[in-house]
Amino acid sequence: MNNRLYGNLIFELSREGRRGCSLPKNRFGHHDIPQKLCRKHDAALPECDEPTVVRHYTNLSSNNFGVDNGFYPLGSCTMKYNPKLNEELSRLPQFQHLHPQQPAATVAGAQAVCTLLKRSLCALTGMDAFTLKPYAGAHGELTGLMTIRAWHKANGDEGRRTKVIVPDSAHGTNPASAAVCGYDIIEVKSTAEGLVDFAHLQTIIDEHGKEIAAMMMTNPNTLGLFERRIPEIAELVHGCGALMYYDGANLNPMLGVCRPGDMGFDVMHINLHKTFSTPHGGGGPGSGPVGVKARLKDCLPQHVSPYQGNFAVLMRAYAYILSLGREHIKKVGPLATLNANYVKEQLKDVYELPIDGWCMHEFVFDGLKDKSSGVTTMDVAKRLLDYGYHAPTIYFPLLFHEAMMIEPTENESKETLDAFIGVMRRIAGEANAEPETVKTAPHLTPIGRVDDVQAAKHPVLTYQQLLLNETN
């Protein structure tokens, strides 16, 4: 990774008349196009030669840190290794050039990948049917909630079931997806142990039972804790006629350990870009297949996307499952869980662990134990960048002021974890010995801390606006 910024914009490398492409000659003859339907000026795109484009994006990539660069303990994101084989397979020309509306007889192989992947996902989750259409986790949540709505509608119960229960520790997408699906949200509190407050849930259900459409949960929850009372929770929710939704964001530690379908969940989504190793790509494309129990099969919506979702992502996930096979896939959860507990145990004397006990794939610190230096979670996160690590997820979940959520996946070796633990302890030491170094970190990255306020107050969102700004 660069330690000096490569800061050009492609527009700044543009010179009039340069070309970066070569096209076939036009042998179809010229056909007139009505001028009133045409744009007045060419689109202001850059004009660059091919080597310039290649160098520009190659240099830009060096401003970035990926899983292939180093340890990426970003909680809730499951930044595991993205196998190279899967990348290559996803680009096989026999799949890459298929039009989604080709006759069925010409796409049997692609259909088989979908069928086999669905079957594997059923086996791994204990669900009975899957749709591969959702494009991402949040899209899967929406699809799952639409399924739930369709189920209540089929039971003549849609009109009054207008509410969805969401724990206060839930991912922000849970309440947002429920709202996009037209539901009101009831938040259930967490106990001091970080689990769903069963008594509060009971009260909610006593009061609103007939209005509840579903409860959304992730298990383990966003604190990395297993919700042990899940059988009772499911019973309570089912008792009032509502359904249980499983947010699959934290599915990784459950591989080889538990299946959502056996825990009482009726509908779930899976983030293939987390548990099934497809690359995050700087924020997408992901894939969020939705699984349901048999009785809900006919309620899956047909139009969340036109074809088979992000097909090339599905191919990668299936290749991952085949590579590990039934022997190794069940080790994923235990190894990820061991790694997380290992890091937690060796740092909890210097970082504040609000809830002790076994964690699953991740855990949450509430900042430094000794906060007297004024060094915050943000500062620690930024200082980690100087040492060649990506930062953990910070200030989430919202239950703790200085939340720092750490998730080492099963791919990390003991040496990597030991080195990380060493650096985390060192930063805790620096916080007392030389707090300014930590508070002003990072120092060794291509750029220093950015001015978020300026970005939001005077938005400059395009090169055109940037030029206007410069002339003013």
């Binding site: 527009f11 970066g20 795109l45 830009l60 680009r91 947002a176 039934r326 061991l338 790694n339």
Partner: protein, 444 residues
Amino acid sequence: MMYKYFPHTADDLQSMLKAVGADSLDALYSDIPADVRFRGDYDLPSEMSELEVRQLFEQLGRQNRQLVCFAGDGVYDHYTPAVIPDLLARSEFLTSYTPYQAEVSQGTLHYIFEYQSMMTALTGMDISNASMYDGTTAAAEAMMMAVNAGKKQSKVLVSATVDPKVVAAMQTYADGLGITIEMIDEHDGATSLTDFGRRLTAGGVAGVMVAQPNRYGIVEDYTGFADVAHSLKALFMMHCVAADLAVLKTPGEWGADIACGDGQSLGIPMQFGGPYVGFLCCTEKLLRKMPGRIVGMTSDNRGQRAFVLTLQAREQHIRRQKATSNICSNQSLMALFVTVYLSLMGRQGLKEAAMLGYDGAHYLCDQLLQTGHFSLAFDRPFFNEFCLVCDKDIDALQQYCAEAGYMAGVKTGDNMLMLAVTERRSKEETDRLVSLINEYMNTL
């Protein structure tokens, strides 16, 4: 225990378990009630070597058949320059997360800023977000934006000439939110301005969605539409094929408030339906209603120009149920795809590629009309896709062509066939399609 993706040796396991105070891996799960533990074996195949996985996929690949593609209907067979897959495979791009840590994510933030700049240049709009899942969901998000921007209106008008797949996605989102979608009549393959005006005047309309080119490939004349919509306080939204905007009058020039669509036509392989990339652009006025991620320029504490995710107060991780959308990602890597594509094609190349498709489609159309078996479905200008009417069995015709390795368009009605041509189709391939169709007709 050892496996190529797991680094743990037996010694590592021993010492790590000891360090955490567990006597076995199973002990880590002592919190889990026994009746929800999964103790069996997954019903999955046994592990496969890299070679075996590769062979399996190659074998599945042989069950597919690549066809010379004259189909479109929203997905187009454009050429991908060799530079793109090479740059997209760079793992600093491929294996990074959402650029929340700006200091180690300038690569991603930088190209998203370039992407936003290029999409606004292409659409003639002020603002673009960092991208959406695809063209259909981008339209649904546009609809939600219009309803959020409107005061109390919950009705959205959609032209009957908008791709039904796009309408289906909008309807799917509308159902949950209590949004009413009303279709505007079409007249001879184009949106009826009369019906448009009539439905708008009835009131309660937050926005209107039209398409360019429309579901039949027709380039519609939207003169006057935006003015009528604006005079009745409704937003004017256009769903477009990105590549065609190199030549066509832009949504900005037509007076649109929101432009959306799919960026697949910017060189992204068809790959059986995805991943593609949705674009969503708007006027500056609507900035705060925009869903999804947006990258903005700022500076760092060393005085350098830097880029950062901005205006996050709109988003789900801050606003939760009050967010403008539940979207939590973009199609970042596909936005990079489009950005590199547009950098290579540039101002001239993109236009030339679009005109190759335009000229190819008009040539093909002329050739097919000359066979005497077809007539034009609509007497209107089209871009690189057009509809023909034929009184013969279209399914059988397409099957005949498929057997010869050609995808002869998409059937869009009992007697209607829609064909598309891109810069990827040679004159030889085009002539061959015409002779195949002729051969088939002669067998009848």
